[in-house]
C-alpha cells in the first residue's frame, strides 16, 4: 500500500475521530488531508484532488449528503467512503444512491476500514481496464465468455442471475444498494423481493451453505456485497 501513497481527505468534525483516522492512515503510508466542515471539504477536494474521501455524514455546516451531491454534480468521481451511525440505514442508502462508493458504520474497527479503503481504491484503478476473469476463492467468473465456475465446475445461471453476479463482480468488495442492482438488472425500479428471490437462487448455485454465504454477503437493509479475497 505504501507504494500507492494515496492521498486521503478526512472530513469529520470530531477531533478524536480525526486523530484516530489520521494516526492509522499515516501509519499505513497514506497521505492525509483533514477538513472539519463541509465547506473546507469541498474546497480541499477541488484543490488537492485526493484519491479518496472519508466523509462523516453529520457535519456542522452542511449535510454530508450535500457534500456528495455537490462533488458528483461537479463531475468529481473521487471515491467516497461514508462514516455513518448504525441505525441510519436510510442515510446510508441515500448516500450510496447519490454516488458514495461505500460506508463504514461507527463505531468501526480499523480492519474493516482498511478493507473498504482498499476496495474503493482498487475499484478506481480497475476502471481503466477490468480483468476479463474474476476469481475469489472457488468462484470464477469469466466476464467475456459469460461463464461461471465453482471449483472448476461450470454453473448454469439464468440471464438475470448472471446479470446480478456480473454487477457484483464489477464492484467486488463494494456494497451495491438494492436500487443499483435493480436498475441495472431490470432496467428500473422493481420490487426488492424479486431481487431477494434471485439472490437466494444464485446463492443456492454458488454458495456451499446458502445460509452462511461466503461470497454474496447481505448488507441488511441496504443491499449486497461480493466478498473480495
Amino acid at each position: 500500500m505504501n507504494a500507492n501513497a494515496a492521498t486521503i481527505l478526512i472530513v469529520d468534525d470530531e477531533p478524536p475521530i480525526l486523530r484516530l483516522l489520521r494516526t492509522s492512515l499515516v501509519s499505513q503510508g497514506f497521505q492525509v488531508i483533514e477538513a472539519m466542515n463541509g465547506e473546507t471539504a469541498l474546497a480541499e477536494a477541488g484543490r488537492s484532488s485526493p484519491d479518496l474521501v472519508i466523509l462523516d455524514l453529520g457535519l456542522p455546516d452542511m449535510d454530508g449528503l450535500d457534500v456528495i451531491r455537490t462533488l458528483r454534480s461537479a463531475g468529481n468521481a473521487v471515491p467516497i467512503l461514508v462514516l455513518s451511525s448504525r441505525s441510519d440505514e436510510k442515510g446510508k442508502v441515500e448516500a450510496l444512491d447519490l454516488g458514495a462508493d461505500d460506508y463504514v458504520t461507527k463505531p468501526f474497527g480499523t480492519a474493516e476500514l482498511f478493507a473498504r479503503i482498499r476496495a474503493a481504491l482498487r475499484h478506481r484503478l480497475q476502471q481503466q481496464g477490468e480483468p476479463p476473469v474474476f476469481r475469489s476463492g472457488d468462484l470464477e467468473v469469466d466476464l467475456v465468455r459469460r461463464i461461471v465456475r465453482m471449483r472448476g465446475e461450470e454453473v448454469k445461471l439464468t440471464p438475470k442471475e448472471y446479470d446480478i453476479l456480473r454487477m457484483l463482480v464489477a464492484h467486488a468488495g463494494k456494497v451495491l444498494t438494492h436500487r443499483m442492482l435493480m436498475s441495472e438488472v431490470w432496467g428500473g425500479e422493481t420490487d426488492v423481493q424479486y431481487l431477494r428471490i434471485y439472490v437466494r437462487q444464485l446463492r443456492q448455485k454458488i454458495e456451499t451453505n446458502p445460509e452462511r454465504p461466503q461470497y454474496i454477503l447481505t448488507e441488511t437493509g441496504i443491499g449486497y456485497r461480493l466478498k473480495m479475497e
Binding site: 423481493q193 428471490i197 446458502p210 445460509e211 452462511r212 447481505t218 448488507e219 437493509g221
Partner: protein, 894 residues
C-alpha cells in the same frame, strides 16, 4: 372488640421492665383444645419429646393419659416426678408434687389439666397457681387446657353445652402465655374418636356426654378456641391495620340487625346501626318485614322504606326484605337463624294506652330477645326526614269504562242462564249463577267492577226472578231475606277475590321488577369499558321505563354529557344547569322536582357509598310527572346498580393508573441502575486498561494483548448496550416504523450470524432451516436485530463450547424460527417476565447478567412486525428456547 388506640411511638418503660422480667421467668406454652379428646396431651408429649431429643432437660410433673395407649407410649422415656399421695375424707388423691419439681429444677416441665382444682391441703387451691410458681422459678412449662375452662367464656360454654364448668382459669393467665398452640380437630373426627372410645370425660352422665359432643356444640367450641387464639394475633394485627388504614377483616363475633319500617326515623336507625357496626367491626343487615299492612301503605311511606334499604346498601350493609305476619316473632327468628348478636330497633311512637291494649313490637322483642342485645333507639337525630322532592304520577290508571261494560255483559249472560235454569230449578238457586258473575268480574277487573256486578245482580235478581216481576218491590218477606244475604255474600266474595287479585298483581309486579333488576345487573356486570357501560345503562333504563335518558359524568372538573338514549349530543342550558345542581347537591333537580322544575328533564344523582358518580336525566313525551311511584323506585334501584357498575370501572381505571405509575417508577429506577451499571462497568474496564497501557512499565506482550482485548471487548459491549438503549427509546416513543417487505428468513439468519461472529466465537452454531421456507413479510433490519439479541442472549447464558442452534419451520400459515441453547434454561418463575424491560434472570455465578433490554426489544420489534415471540425451556435437555412466529406469505414469483 373494643377500639384500639394506636401503639404509642415511644416504647413503654413498663413494657421494657416486663420484658426484662420475662427473661428470667420460665416460658409458658399452652396447648389449647376445643373439647376433651382432641389430643392436647398427646401433642404436648410430642413437642416435649422433640425438646428432649434436642437435649433439653424435660420432666413430667403430671400427665393424665386416661389410659390411652398412644399417649402412654409417649410417656415412656420421660423422667417423671413422683406424685404426692394424700388421703382426704377416705378418698385417695394424687397431686403434682410442686416442691419436688421445684427442687428438681428441670428446664422444662409438663403439667397437664391446667384448670384442675388441687386437693385441700395443697400449697395452692388451683393447679395454674402451681404453674405460676414454676414459671417464677425460671422453669419452662408446657400445659394443656380446654377452652371451656377459660373464665370469661364460662357462661358462653355453658349456654352452648348446657354443662356448668366449675374449674376455671383466669383469662390473664392465658394472655401471659408466651405461646398458644390450638389443637384443632374437626367435629366429625372428634365424634369418630368418641365412638371408638378414645375420649375420656370424667364423671359425666352418658346423656350429657352425647349432648356435649354434638356436632353443633363442637363447632361452636372450636370456633371459640380458634377465635380466642386469634384475638392475641388480632391485637397486633389491629394496630398494624389501623396504622395502615386497612379495613376488615371483621371479628367473627358480632352481627348487627337493624329493623326498618316506614317510620321517618328509619334512616336514623340505619345510620345508628352503621356507626355501631363500624365500632364493633361487625357486619350488619337492615331488615324490612313486609306484612299485609305494607300493601296499604301510602307512596311516601313506601319510598321511605325503599330509601332506608338503599341507604343500607350504600353504607355497606345488607338489605333484606322478608314477608311475614307477626313482626316480633319474625324478627327474632331471623336474628336467631342468622346469628345476629345485636338488634337495633326504633322506639314505639304510639301512646301508652295503645301499647297497653295492643302491646308494642319493641317491648315484645326486648322481652323475648334472650341473649341478643336489643338497642332501642329514639332516632332523635338531626336532619329532617327526606321530603319527597319529585312529583310522581298517580299510579292508578284514569277511569276506564270498559270493565264496567264487560261486567254488565257478564251479568246479562248470568241473567240469560238464570232464565233458562229457573224453568227447572228453585228460584233461589239462580242466585248462585249471579254470584258466579260477581266472582268472574272480581277476578277479571278487581273490586270496583265486582261491586258494580253485585249491584246489577241484585237488581236483575229482584226484577226478573222475585215476584212481583219487573218491580223493585218484593212481595215475599222470605225473598227479602234471601236477597239481603245474596247481597252480603256477593260483597264479601267480591272483596276477598279482589284482594287476592291485588296481592297476585303486586307479587307479579315484584317478581318482574326483581327479574328486571337481575337482568340489568347481569348486563352491566360483564362490561369492561366505560363507554359500553354508559351506553348499556342508558339504553336499558330507557327501554325499561319507556323514557329518554341522558347520562352526565364528571370529566376534568366539569360535568359532561356522556351518553344519551336515543342518541343526542347537546344539552340545553337549563338542563345542564339542573344536572350540575343535582350533581353538586346530590339531590334531584329539573322537571317535577323542587329545584329548577322548568328544565326539560328530571335529573337524579347516581350514588354509591363513596358519593355521587354520575347524574342521570330522563324525560318523555308524556304530560305531567314522568314516573309512577313504582317506576320511581325502580329507577332508584336501577341507578344504584348502575352507579356501582360505574364506580367499579372508575376504580379499576384508578387501579390501572396507579399500577402504571408504579410500573413507571420501577422502570425509571431500573433505567438509572442500568445506565449507571451497564455504562460504567465497561467504561471502568476501558479506562483501567488504557491507563495500564499508558502508565505501567515493563508490560509483557501478552499483558498488552490482554489489556487491548479488554478495551476492545468492553467497548463493543458498551456499543451494544447503547444500541439497545436507542432501540428501546425508539420503541417507547413509537418511532419504530417497520419497513416491511418480503424477506428470505435464511438471508437474515446469514447476515445476523456474520454480524454476531465475534460474540459467538466461543460457541458452535448450527442452523437447520427448511429448504422450502417461504418468504416472510418483515423489516429485515429489525429482524436482524431481534436475532442478534437472541443469539447474544444465548451466548451469554449458555456455557462456552455448547451448541446454539437455529431452526426454521413452516407450520400451516405460520413460519416459526427457534433459537435453542444448551444453557441452564429459564427458571419457571422468570418465564413470563423475561421479555419485561430491565428484567434479568439472576445467575448463580458471578457471570454477567444481561442488560434486561435485549429481550424486551425483541418482543417490541417482533410485535411491531405482526409476529409473536415466546420463551420456554427445551424438552429434550436443559436449555432455553425462544420461538418467533410470523405469518407466512405466499411465495412471490419473479
Amino acid at each position: 372488640m373494643p377500639d384500639q388506640k394506636a401503639e404509642p411511638k415511644r416504647p413503654d418503660p413498663e413494657a421494657l421492665l416486663r420484658e426484662v422480667a420475662t427473661e428470667t421467668r420460665g416460658h409458658l406454652k399452652v396447648f389449647l383444645g376445643a373439647a376433651p379428646g382432641v389430643g392436647k396431651t398427646y401433642e404436648m408429649l410430642l413437642s416435649a419429646a422433640a425438646q428432649r431429643r434436642a437435649g433439653v432437660d424435660v420432666v413430667i410433673g403430671l400427665i393424665e393419659t386416661h389410659g390411652r395407649v398412644e399417649t402412654e407410649a409417649l410417656v415412656h422415656g420421660f423422667e417423671i416426678v413422683r406424685l404426692r399421695q394424700l388421703d382426704y375424707n377416705g378418698r385417695h388423691l394424687r397431686e403434682m408434687d410442686l416442691d419436688a419439681v421445684l427442687a428438681r429444677k428441670p428446664a422444662l416441665v409438663l403439667v397437664d389439666e391446667l384448670a384442675h382444682t388441687n386437693a385441700p391441703g395443697s400449697r395452692h387451691p388451683k393447679r395454674y397457681q402451681d404453674v405460676e410458681d414454676l414459671l417464677a422459678a425460671g422453669i419452662d412449662v408446657y400445659t394443656a387446657v380446654n377452652i371451656q375452662h377459660l373464665e370469661s367464656l364460662n357462661d358462653v360454654v355453658q349456654q352452648i353445652t348446657r354443662i356448668k364448668v366449675r374449674e376455671t382459669v383466669p383469662d390473664a393467665f392465658l394472655d401471659h402465655a408466651d405461646e398458644i398452640e390450638v389443637i384443632d380437630l374437626t367435629p366429625a373426627d372428634l365424634i369418630q374418636r368418641l365412638k371408638e372410645g378414645k375420649v375420656y370425660v370424667p364423671g359425666t352422665a352418658e346423656r350429657a356426654l352425647t349432648h356435649y359432643f354434638s356436632a353443633g356444640n363442637l363447632t361452636a367450641l372450636r370456633e371459640l378456641a380458634l377465635r380466642r387464639t386469634a384475638q392475641r394475633v388480632d391485637q397486633q394485627l389491629l394496630t398494624h391495620m389501623q396504622a395502615h388504614a386497612i379495613s376488615g377483616p371483621w371479628s367473627a363475633g358480632d352481627r348487627i340487625l337493624v329493623v326498618v319500617n316506614e317510620h321517618p326515623k328509619a334512616a336514623a336507625l340505619v345510620r345508628y346501626a352503621r356507626r355501631m357496626a363500624e365500632r364493633l367491626r361487625a357486619p350488619w343487615t337492615a331488615l324490612y318485614v313486609e306484612t299485609p299492612r305494607s300493601l296499604r301503605l301510602n307512596e311516601a311511606a313506601r319510598d321511605r322504606i325503599a330509601e332506608a334499604l338503599r341507604m343500607t346498601e350504600r353504607l355497606g350493609g345488607e338489605a333484606v326484605t322478608m314477608p311475614g305476619r307477626e313482626l316480633a316473632g319474625e324478627i327474632l327468628d331471623y336474628a336467631a337463624k342468622n346469628n345476629f348478636s345485636h338488634i337495633v330497633i326504633g322506639r314505639s311512637r304510639r301512646s301508652r294506652l295503645h301499647e297497653l291494649i295492643f302491646g308494642s313490637i319493641t317491648s315484645e322483642i326486648v322481652r323475648r330477645a334472650g341473649n341478643v342485645a336489643v338497642h332501642v333507639v329514639t332516632g332523635d337525630e338531626k336532619g329532617a326526614p327526606a321530603a319527597k322532592t319529585v312529583d310522581t304520577r298517580p299510579a292508578a290508571a284514569p277511569f276506564d269504562v270498559r270493565p264496567y261494560l264487560i261486567t254488565a255483559a257478564v251479568v246479562a249472560v248470568a241473567l240469560g242462564c238464570g232464565e233458562v235454569l229457573a224453568r227447572f230449578l228453585n228460584v233461589q238457586n239462580v242466585a248462585l249463577v249471579f254470584l258466579t258473575a260477581v266472582l268472574v268480574s272480581a277476578v277479571a277487573f278487581g273490586l270496583s267492577a265486582a261491586l258494580f256486578a253485585s249491584l246489577l245482580s241484585v237488581l236483575a235478581f229482584n226484577l226478573f226472578f222475585l215476584p212481583p216481576y219487573f218491580s223493585i218491590t218484593i212481595s215475599d218477606p222470605e225473598n227479602v231475606v234471601a236477597l239481603f244475604f245474596f247481597l252480603v255474600v256477593a260483597l264479601v266474595a267480591s272483596n276477598l277475590t279482589a284482594s287476592v287479585r291485588a296481592q297476585a298483581l303486586v307479587a307479579r309486579q315484584r317478581a318482574r321488577t326483581t327479574e328486571d333488576l337481575y337482568l340489568f345487573s347481569r348486563k352491566l356486570a360483564g362490561i369492561a369499558s366505560m363507554d359500553d357501560l354508559l351506553w348499556a345503562i342508558s339504553s336499558q333504563v330507557a327501554s325499561m321505563l319507556k323514557v329518554r335518558v341522558v347520562l352526565f359524568l364528571p370529566e376534568n372538573g366539569s360535568l359532561e354529557l356522556k351518553t344519551a338514549w336515543p342518541p343526542e349530543d347537546v344539552a340545553e342550558e337549563a338542563d345542564l344547569a339542573a344536572a350540575k345542581w343535582s350533581w353538586e347537591s346530590s339531590r334531584p333537580a329539573g322537571r317535577g322536582a323542587d329545584t329548577m322544575p322548568g328544565a326539560r328533564r328530571l335529573f337524579l344523582p347516581m350514588r354509591t357509598g363513596r358519593g355521587s358518580v354520575a347524574v342521570i336525566g330522563i324525560d318523555s313525551d308524556k304530560q305531567g310527572p314522568l314516573l309512577t311511584p313504582d317506576e320511581r323506585r325502580l329507577l332508584d334501584a336501577l341507578s344504584d346498580q348502575a352507579a356501582l357498575a360505574i364506580e367499579r370501572i372508575n376504580l379499576s381505571k384508578d387501579f390501572d393508573k396507579a399500577q402504571r405509575a408504579a410500573e413507571r417508577d420501577r422502570l425509571q429506577a431500573a433505567l438509572l441502575t442500568s445506565i449507571s451499571h451497564d455504562l460504567r462497568t465497561p467504561l471502568a474496564s476501558i479506562l483501567g486498561a488504557a491507563d495500564g497501557l499508558a502508565g505501567l512499565p515493563d508490560l509483557t506482550v501478552d499483558d498488552r494483548k490482554a489489556l487491548l482485548s479488554t478495551i476492545q471487548e468492553e467497548a463493543e459491549r458498551l456499543n451494544r448496550f447503547i444500541a439497545n438503549l436507542l432501540d428501546m427509546t425508539k420503541l417507547e416513543s413509537g418511532a419504530v416504523t417497520p419497513n416491511m417487505g418480503l424477506v428470505d428468513v435464511s438471508e437474515v439468519v446469514g447476515s445476523t450470524l456474520r454480524r454476531a461472529e465475534r460474540i459467538l466465537a466461543g460457541h458452535r452454531v448450527e442452523t437447520a432451516l427448511d429448504p422450502g421456507l417461504p418468504m416472510v413479510r418483515i423489516d429485515p433490519v429489525l429482524f436482524e436485530q431481534v436475532l442478534f439479541n437472541l443469539l447474544d442472549n444465548a451466548a451469554k447464558y449458555a456455557p462456552a463450547g455448547t451448541i446454539i442452534s437455529m431452526e426454521g419451520r413452516r407450520a400451516g400459515n405460520l413460519v416459526s424460527l427457534r433459537i435453542l441453547d444448551e444453557g441452564p434454561g429459564i427458571p419457571q418463575a422468570d418465564l413470563e417476565h423475561v421479555f419485561d424491560k430491565f428484567y434479568r434472570v439472576r445467575k448463580a455465578d458471578s457471570q454477567r447478567a444481561g442488560t434486561g433490554l435485549g429481550l424486551a426489544i425483541c418482543r417490541g420489534f417482533v410485535e411491531a412486525m405482526g409476529g409473536t415471540i415466546e420463551a420456554g425451556n427445551r424438552a429434550d435437555r436443559p436449555g432455553a428456547v425462544f420461538t418467533i412466529t410470523l405469518p407466512a406469505q405466499a411465495e412471490a414469483t419473479a
